[in-house]
């Protein structure tokens, strides 16, 4: 690269060392440790460990609880990132137009970034409480109209609503910046070529938004998982009947509540592999389509 002008090799490593050490300790080492533990039987409280080969994997993969949790995790990753990116995209497309409410919207849509997933969980659990919340009167009229504590569909609607609320800012910022980076002259050229606003959306705006959409989708998949813990811990605790017991939450309860360190580590390995696969698939199928020289 043209900016690479200093040649002091020791300084290069010296400057990078602090971050590399932190990353090694709290990113790479936990990954390595997870793989280690997945092949050992770990006793809690430093009770020693014993190599067991694939026994942990056999145990985890043999449990139906794991499979339903993995399925829920995959479903959540796809739907949570899909709904939040779609919502942010629609809002960004609207805010990109020079409307009277656009400046206000651009400011307010960033606010949820300041609210922790656990906080919005606490808030939504109250607002959507079937007996005390905003929908309680409807439940009085039609008993059972809304009950996220027992109805899995309602639970997921509540989770996705909270997730979308919380995930709007980042995607919105990136997508809106991408839309505004599209030169006005391209819109004009499109209009001169006879393409109306909808046609331009399809043929010009969305293709040119490709790189931003890609970034947002990839990051939102990882973010939806890490944010899911705060939501689930405050809203559903994995219920009803384990329907929202996503792997992130299951690993936490298996490891910290049931002290099954090896089982938790094995599931960690599988979860990381799952996320890596989803990300890899996105790179394979999406990235090639969004590359072009501007």
């Amino acid at each position: 690269m043209k900016q690479a002008i200093f040649r002091a090799r020791f300084l290069l490593w010296g400057l990078a060392a602090p971050q590399l050490i932190v990353l090694f300790l709290f990113f790479y080492l936990p990954i390595i440790l997870a793989f280690c533990w997945a092949f050992h039987l770990e006793q809690p409280f430093g009770g020693g460990s014993q190599f067991v080969g694939l026994a942990n994997f056999r145990r985890v993969l043999g449990s139906s609880e794991f499979w339903s949790s993995a399925g829920a995790t995959l479903l959540y990753m796809v739907l949570a990132s899909g709904t939040s990116v779609a919502a942010a995209l629609v809002l960004a497309l609207a805010a990109d137009r020079a409307l009277k409410v656009s400046p206000l919207a651009r400011n307010v849509f960033i606010w949820p970034k300041a609210v922790a997933s656990a906080s919005i969980g606490v808030i939504f659990v109250f607002i959507l409480n079937p007996f005390l919340g905003i929908l309680a009167p409807l439940n009085d009229l039609w008993p059972g109209f809304w009950n996220p504590r027992t109805n899995v569909l309602h639970t997921y609607i509540m989770l996705f609503a909270a997730n979308v609320w919380n995930a709007i800012p980042f995607s919105f910022i990136i997508l809106l910046a991408g839309l505004q980076a599209i030169p006005q002259e391209l819109h004009r050229a499109g209009a001169m070529d006879g393409a109306g606003p909808w046609r331009r959306l399809r043929d010009i705006q969305l293709p040119l938004l490709g790189p931003q959409l890609f970034v947002v989708i990839v990051l939102e998949v990882a973010d939806s998982l890490s944010g899911s813990f705060g939501l689930i811990d405050t809203m559903t605790q994995g219920g009803p009947g384990g329907a929202t017991n996503l792997l992130v939450y299951k690993i936490y309860s298996d490891g910290f509540k049931a002290y099954d360190l090896s089982g938790a580590a094995t599931q960690t390995v599988i979860l990381m592999a799952l996320v890596a696969c989803v990300t890899g698939v996105q790179y394979l199928f999406l990235e090639r389509k969004v590359n072009y020289d501007r």
Binding site: A4, F6, A8, L11, L12, W13, L15, A16, Q19, V22, L25, F26, F27, Y28, P30, I31, L33, A34, L91, A94, A95, R97, L99, K100, V101, L104, I110, W111, P112, K113, A118, S119, I120, V122, I123, F126, I127, F131, I173, I174, A177, A181, A191, G196, V215, V218, A222, L225, S226, F229, G230, T234, V248, Y252, G255, F256, L261, A265, T268, A276
Partner: protein, 301 residues
């Protein structure tokens, strides 16, 4: 805009207003509920009529819960995390952008890879490392038992960071997005600048201190605020890394307010707590919205 698009503009306005309502309504409900007393609430259930009990609720939060202390913890941990992430990102991205050498690509890849797997995914083993940061030293020393053979006993260093500010904040720094953004920013700075500095006799560190850092003040502040907020809203890691209520962060404390499952929760009190926990970062966001957006979108140029 270009054509006569009044109908589309009307649809877009409707979408934005719906979005505004969706974002603002929960916040409004929080504020209204926080003004009601527990007795009001039990008597009337959900109501959008503001009460007069906010001061009372706030006094109860302030005197009878750990939230004030935990809010202070959030300020401290947020500041340490933000400062640490910025410092690590500045040095690394400076090295990656401005130094020639075989290592730079490797360094950059190692840092960027960490964006894809958040800390929440590896919580069990990250906890284990934080419980004893000397773990890798022990492991290397005892590999093949050479330490034991030399000194009589296996090396058993212990350095527990759990329940400390460092233990909460340092693992949250192990994430490369800040570096990614800064690398993109440094690449937009004309390389002639560094050449001119060399001609003027400045070494690499002097160039960083006298030219690059002053030049990056705006983006760095924005990024710092953003990182502070990001640390503030963390939930899972502070929850496991700090077990004592006095050490943990405000968001964790807020979620723990509703633990008492025996009676109908004191929602007005919870919502008052939610205001205390949310207001500091919300004020930062509302005030620095423009700068934060500009800082975040640097990488999209």
């Amino acid at each position: 805009m270009i054509e006569n698009t009044r109908s589309i503009d009307r649809v877009a306005t409707a979408i934005l207003i719906a979005g505004l309502a969706f974002v603002l309504a929960p916040l409004a409900v929080v504020v209204i509920t926080a003004t009601q007393s527990y007795e009001d609430f039990l008597a009337r259930n959900f109501s959008l009529v503001p009460g007069t009990h906010f001061a009372g609720n706030f006094r109860e939060i302030w005197t009878r819960t750990d939230l004030p202390r935990q809010t202070l913890n959030s300020v401290i941990v947020g500041a340490i995390t933000a400062a640490g992430r910025i410092a690590l990102a500045v040095t690394t991205s400076y090295a990656v952008v401005y130094f020639a050498g075989r290592g730079r690509g490797l360094v950059y890849a190692a840092v960027v890879a960490s964006i894809m797997l958040p800390l929440e995914l590896m919580i069990i083993t990250a906890y284990q490392v934080t419980a004893n940061v000397a773990l890798p030293l022990d492991a290397v020393a005892n590999m093949g038992g050479w330490w034991g053979a030399l000194f009589g006993a296996p090396l058993d260093l212990q350095w527990n960071l759990l329940d400390t500010y460092a233990g909460i904040s340092v693992p949250m720094m192990a994430q490369g997005s800040c570096t990614l953004i800064l690398v993109q920013f440094f690449r937009t700075i004309p390389p002639q600048l560094a050449r001119a500095a060399i001609i003027d006799g400045a070494g690499p560190l002097r160039f960083l201190r006298d030219i690059l850092l002053p030049l990056s003040k705006g983006p760095l502040t924005a990024l710092g605020i953003y990182m502070f907020i990001s640390a503030w809203v963390q939930y899972m890691w502070p929850l496991v890394a700090a077990s004592s209520p006095a050490r943990t962060m405000a968001v964790v404390g807020l979620a723990r307010l509703q633990e008492d499952a025996e009676r109908i929760p004191d929602f007005p009190l919870q919502m008052t707590g939610a205001i205390l926990v949310t207001l500091p970062p919300l004020i930062l966001i509302a005030l620095f919205q423009r700068r934060i957006v500009r800082g975040l979108t640097l990488s999209e140029k």
